[in-house]
Structure formats: C-alpha cells, structure tokens
C-alpha cells in the first residue's frame, strides 16, 4: 500500500519478505543484528487480524521477549522494533519506517549501534 501509493521512504530500508510474523523465529532478527544490520523492524498484521489466524499472536510474545533480552547481552533494544501495520495503512507504515530509521541513525551517530 505504501509502495503502491508511492509514499517516500528512507532508502536504507531493505525488506525481507515472509508469509507471516509467525514464521519469525526470534533468532532470525537476532541473527540480522549479529550479522551487522543496524536495526531490525518487524511488521505484521494487527493482533486478532492474523491472515494465518494466530501467527502474530505467538510472534508478539516471542518478539517482546527478544526485545527485553537484548540489553542483557549488551545490545541496545532500540535497534529492534516490532509493529502491527495492516496492508491498508500505507501512511502509518511510512511514518514508522521514517521514525525507526531516524532512531537508528541517532544510535549510530552516538556510536551505539554496530
């Protein structure tokens, strides 16, 4: 939707396509951070509106745990964000991507992201 409506977004974003946030083993975003991604933004259908019924509800718990765990091993939890954006919320997606990119830029500027 954001793409179809040609809403401008930061060019530093790369999207990995997945069928459902339920597919996300928390190790996947963690791996991206370990591999050198500055930030990982995870976006899926709103809880209760999972295209695959329940996937995002499991993902919500797992990603929340990941987020809370990160600082324990010295990773800034701000480098990870998970949000629920439906396909029709192009404008919201645009805002979130812009905000998150800005947040990561600030972290990098302070030398806190890898």
């Amino acid at each position: 939707m954001a793409g179809t409506s040609r809403m401008k977004q930061p060019a530093s974003v790369r999207i990995v396509r997945l069928p459902c946030t339920g597919r996300i083993n928390p190790l996947l975003p963690l791996r991206a951070l370990e591999d050198g991604a500055d930030g990982v933004l995870i976006s899926g259908c709103h809880p209760g509106d999972c295209h695959y019924r329940e996937g995002n509800l499991y993902a919500r718990r797992r990603l929340e745990l990941l987020q809370r765990f990160l600082p324990f091993v010295g990773i800034d939890p701000k480098r990870l964000r998970y949000v629920w954006v439906s396909a029709s919320e192009g404008a919201r997606w645009q805002t979130i991507v812009a905000e998150f990119t800005q947040q990561i830029r600030e972290l990098k500027a302070r030398g806190e992201a890898s």
Binding site: G3, A37, H51
Partner: protein, 656 residues
C-alpha cells in the same frame, strides 16, 4: 547453478529512478549468474519471450526477476518458467518498483538499493528448490452468507448453473435492506416489485437450501473443503406445520418496536417481519414473549389452527461441507445519534433516511402517506441533510457512503410526487452521481421536481413554533442561512457491521476498521477475500448501491463457478515439510499449528515424528519458527533461504 537475472524498466516506472543497466551489470558479477538483461516491459509478450529464450538457450535453472510487487506479476512469470520447461518455483522476485523506484527519489541511492535487492534475490535463488503441488478434491456445494439482494443474486446464479447452494440469513426472512426500500434509483421502480420475485425464486429453487434465522457458528477447512457449523436458531414455530396464516401475530398482546419499520411502529412478540417475508412464517422474539419470560399467555399456541407453536424448540447445530463461500452480509446505517446537534430523538420530526423509506412505502407504517410523526400533519417543507456520517473524519467516518446523494435526489422526487405542493431542500457538500443515468437523475430532481439544493452543512436543528429550524450555510452565497422545515430527513451514511467483523474472524478474512471486508486486490481481485475460496459480494465490502451489489454478486458467483468447475485443486507447494531424520518428536509444531495440519506419525522403529498434511497447511511458518532443531521447514521461506538473504543484505560478516 545457472542463474538468469532480468531487470524490468516497467516503462519508466523503475528506470526513471533506478539505473537498470548498472543493476544488470552488477548482477553479472554475482556467483552463479549466467546472464543479466534489462527489459522495457518484462510482463509483455516480447519480455516473456526473451526470458523463455534465455532459459532454453542458456540452460538457466534459477530465475531472478527485478520488477514490480510479486503480488502483481509473480503468477505471470511462474507461468513463463513453466512454459520454458522450468519448475515455476525456481523463480525469485525482487520488488524494484513498490519497494524501491516508487518510494525513493535519489537515483543513486535507489540504484544502490536495487543492486542490494537483486543481490538478496540472487542469493536466495541459489537456494531455491523445485517444488510440486499436491491435489485435493473440490466439494461442489457453495455457502452464501447473507440473504440480501447480493446474497440472493449470488445464490441464484450458482443454483441456476446446476450447483447446490446453501443460503444462510441471520434474520427471520431474506430480503435484507433492499426489502425496506420504497422505490429505487435511478429508474424509480418499486423495490418490492423487483426483489420479491427473486426472494420467492431463491426460496423455491431446487438447488438452494435456505437457512433463515440461522448463523454461521464455526468454519474450518480450506478452499474446496470447508466445514461449516450452522446454528439454526429456534423460531419456536414449527416450519413444517405453520401455514403462515398469521392469526397468531394478530392476537399477540405484546408490543415491541418493529425492526423492519425501523422502530416507527410495533410488532408482536410473535411476528412476520413484513407481508412479503420469505419464508412467510412467524418467529417468536424470546426477549419479549410473555410465555417465555413469565410462563403466562400462550395465546398464540391456543389460537394456532395447526398446532405449530413450539415453545420447547431448541437451537439446532448442523455441520455441512462446502467448496466455496460467498460473504454478502451487507451494511447498516452508521450511528446517527452521535449528531446531537441534529436533535434526533429529541424532535420526532427529525428522522433517518431508512425511516423515510418506510414512510414513503405503501406497505409502511403510514400506508405511504408522508406525515409528521409529531402531529400527523403533512409537511410543507421537507429538508434533507446529506453526509450525516459520511466524509466526516471527526466522527470516524472519513469515506463517502456513495448512495446518499442519489437517494436524497430520489426523496426529493418522491416527496413531490406524494405532496406536489411541498418544498424540498437538500443540504449537500458535493453531488456524487457517477454511474449510468445518475447525473441525469439528479438533474431531473432539480429541473422537473424543483428540488432546492443548498451547498453547505447544517450545524444545528432546533424547534420554533412547531417547526424545525435548520441553521446552515450556503457556501456558494458565502453566508449563513436558516430554513424552517416541517420534516427533516438525515441522509445517514452506511457502515460495515460488527457482526460482519465477527464473521470475518471465523472465516479468517480481513476487514477494515469500519467493518467492511477487504478484497484481495482493489483493482484486479475485487471479489476475492484474503482467504482462497472465500468471496465477497455487495455492501459488506464497501458502500454500494443495488446495481453494483448485484453486479458484484454475479461476479462472485462466476468466481465460485470457476473454482468448483474443477474436480481437483492444486494446493500451494509453499507449505511446511518435516525432515523426518531431524525430528526429535517434541511435537511443539503440532501444538502451535493454527490449522491442525500436523499429525503424529509412528515410524517402523516405534519412534514418533511429526508429519504435515499439505492440504491443510496454509504456509504460515509458525511451526518452522517453533521447531528447536529446525526439522520442519516452510518451503519457499526456509531458514537457509532467509539467512542467505539477510547475510547478503548485511554484508558485513557473512561468515558468522
């Protein structure tokens, strides 16, 4: 590994922002890439030919296409691969349009990103495997949910083609909102005259099973094989014995507001919603019936000549199987009472559009005479306020309800036909009359029927000397105006319903915040829901008038017929798969699977491992994310494929 990369200009949709030649040049440097081409329109015939030619001449065995969103053309290119003799799942798509050229402006940055996207795609492509689908039987029966005009039309179209349909309607009669209407635009033919024959036809059609006063309770299964539990609510009237004579409804001492007449008059606790109701059989409203509440009365039982009253009747649950489902649950009026300034409820002479339909109708509570509800006087001035609950972001309804402009013009005409001396004022913001003969209809209301259009919203309605005073503005004049009217009709906007939202959850299809169902693609798949085998028709998808609802219903019916014309259906091969050797039998996958697609399998040595039923698996990958030893992989999105994509995008330290 022989990978071919094809970069689409998409006219200049991509090439205007992305240097496609540079991307292709870069692709050639990637391991495994044999050739890289740019194509003006990859989806066009010459584009497809070029890809096929390269596959055949260079023996390509993995294809990367950098073009638009895979939602648009993935299927097209899968077909190209298949035609060239390659397994269609050896295709990887990089979305260079929606994810890159359309959303970035800086050519250098966009080109850099496009290169990365191709990098990621090539890396994933190298790990793709040929996949084949399995086949499942298709049940030929169709379930239509909602007995309004859209549901009736869809059911009839399918039934006429010789296939079985079950039509489920939650109220005691089919007909829906259209049955309430008097005459309908743009031809002003009588709604009942065109609807009632269809109601009768669908009820008596040999291929249609009609479930009125019934609701869908639970849905499981998948395209071609849905299992649906239907709750037949107890009518407390034996449908076999009842002859529909209606004497019970005349004797019932209880009074409750009539739903059909929008609360303008009363019905009994036992009632037939309206004279043309189908089935023409009464129902007992358990919430008001004295016998049910206090065990007193039972008059209907005493009077019924056939002994059809059955107070002991219970809800019945039936489970049926269907191959396809059409949802046609319609709309309701948005909550107009949030507009305190219009005085609805305080002033009897402020009514809603649907109430006006009933007042205009000869079968309505006033017998078709336009009267004020306060004193029964014929109004001299009728005011209609458009956009009540439409285009009003502040009240949570930013969209246009699309029908109010037309029915407001209709009210002007009908009012003048009933009361030639009455004046009609319509307060509007813009007039939207964009279908065939619609603009002419509105013109006629003004030219022939003398409707007075005032461009501006009304801010307040109050009473003065028994009349309604409308404080408004004429934005064309640029000043505030005031109108004394005898009757005010609020042209209330329409909204999706809470019950549709609940149904959508059972069906696992998506909806928006207003309760309208979401179509799979706004342009190219307008009647398909987000779940295969479930289609949508009518105003449950968006505000719609009758012609559009009927057209969409027939369209959904044709989609269903297309589906059930197959005896067997290919299932997507993008499903989970267990590597038996790796499975340790913890069955966490089985525990989380939302589709019950995982079963225990006992091997010959007695060990138990998990097994996926590919027909039930929807490919969400939850099991794969849950399995500790990664023994269960979601095909097309395996750990290896995802890790390879992430490694190439991070590029910092691929050797972890």
């Amino acid at each position: 590994m022989k990978i071919g990369v094809f970069i689409c200009h998409c006219g200049n949709n991509i090439s205007a922002t992305v240097d496609v030649e540079q991307v292709a040049q870069h692709a050639l440097t990637l391991p495994g890439v044999v050739c890289a081409h740019t194509i003006p329109h990859a989806c066009s015939e010459p584009g497809q030919q070029l890809i096929k030619k390269n596959i055949q001449e260079k023996g390509l065995n993995r294809i990367v296409i950098g073009a638009c969103s895979p939602r648009v053309h993935e299927a097209t290119f899968k077909r190209v691969l298949a035609q060239a003799g390659l397994n269609p799942y050896l295709l990887e798509f990089a979305n260079l349009r929606e994810q890159c050229s359309w959303v970035h402006e800086d050519r250098q940055l966009a080109t850099g990103k496009a290169i990365d996207l191709i990098d990621m795609a090539v890396n994933k492509a190298a790990r793709l495997e040929p996949l084949t689908s399995s086949k499942v039987d298709v049940n030929k029966r169709t379930l239509v949910i909602g007995g309004g005009i859209a549901g009736i039309q869809a059911a009839l179209d399918i039934a006429d083609s010789g296939h079985e349909v079950a039509l489920v309607e939650k109220t005691p009669t089919i007909g829906g909102n259209m049955a309430r209407m008097d005459k309908v635009f743009p031809t002003l033919d009588c709604s009942a005259c065109i609807l009632t024959p269809k109601m009768v036809e669908v009820a008596s059609h040999p291929n249609v099973t009609l479930y009125t006063y019934s609701e869908v309770e639970q849905v499981s299964g998948f395209v071609g094989n849905f299992k649906v539990k239907i709750r037949k609510k107890a009518r407390l009237v034996d449908m076999e014995k009842c002859t529909g004579c209606g004497s019970c409804t005349l004797k019932c001492p209880v009074k409750a507001p009539s739903e059909f007449n929008m609360g303008l008059d009363n019905r009994g606790a036992i009632y037939i919603p309206f004279p043309q109701a189908v089935p023409h059989i009464p129902v007992i409203d358990k919430t008001v019936c004295s016998y049910i509440l206090k065990k007193k009365c039972g008059l209907c039982q005493k009077i019924c000549p056939t002994g059809a009253i059955a107070f002991e009747q219970q809800d019945e649950l039936t489970e049926e199987e269907f191959g396809a489902i059409i949802v046609a649950t319609g709309y309701e009026l948005m909550d107009w009472t949030v507009y305190g300034e219009y005085g609805y409820g305080k002033y009897k002479d402020v009514i809603t559009s649907m109430q006006y339909e009933r007042i205009l109708s000869s079968s309505g509570p006033t017998g078709g005479h336009i009267k004020r509800l306060s004193d029964g006087r014929e109004p001299e001035v009728v005011a209609i306020i458009a956009c009540v609950g439409s285009r009003d972001a502040a009240r949570g309804r930013p969209y246009c309800s699309s029908v109010c402009c037309m029915y407001s013009a209709k009210y002007a005409m009908l009012t003048r036909e009933h009361l030639p001396n009455a004046q009609v004022y319509i307060f509007y913001m813009d007039i939207r009359a964009c279908s065939k003969m619609y603009e002419e209809f509105v013109q006629r209301a003004q030219e022939k029927y003398g409707a007075n259009y005032v461009r501006g919203r009304v801010s307040k309605i109050f009473e003065r000397n028994g009349r309604m005073v409308l404080q408004g503005a004429d934005t064309l004049l640029g000043q505030s105006v005031e109108l004394e009217a005898d009757l005010v009709v609020l042209a209330v906007g329409i909204t999706g319903t809470q019950s549709t939202i609940e149904l959508a959850k059972k069906l696992n299809i998506s909806h928006d915040e207003y309760g309208f169902l979401t179509e799979n693609h706004p342009k190219l798949r307008p009647v398909e829901s987000s779940t295969a085998g479930i289609f949508i028709a009518g105003a449950c998808q968006s505000p719609k008038d009758i012609p559009l609802s009927v057209a969409q219903a027939s369209s959904a019916a044709s989609k269903v017929l297309g589906l059930i014309s197959h005896d067997k259906l290919e299932t997507s091969p993008l499903v989970a798969e267990v590597t038996i050797l790796k499975c340790v039998g913890c069955f966490r996958c089985l525990s989380v699977c939302p589709f019950s697609a995982i079963e225990e399998q006992v091997l010959r040595d007695g060990t138990k491992v998990a097994q996926v039923n590919p027909a039930l698996c929807q490919g969400c990958g939850l099991c794969s994310a849950t399995c500790p030893p990664a023994a269960i992989a979601l095909r097309g999105f395996t750990d290896d494929q995802l890790i390879s994509q992430m490694e190439s995008l991070c590029q910092l330290n691929p050797e972890l």
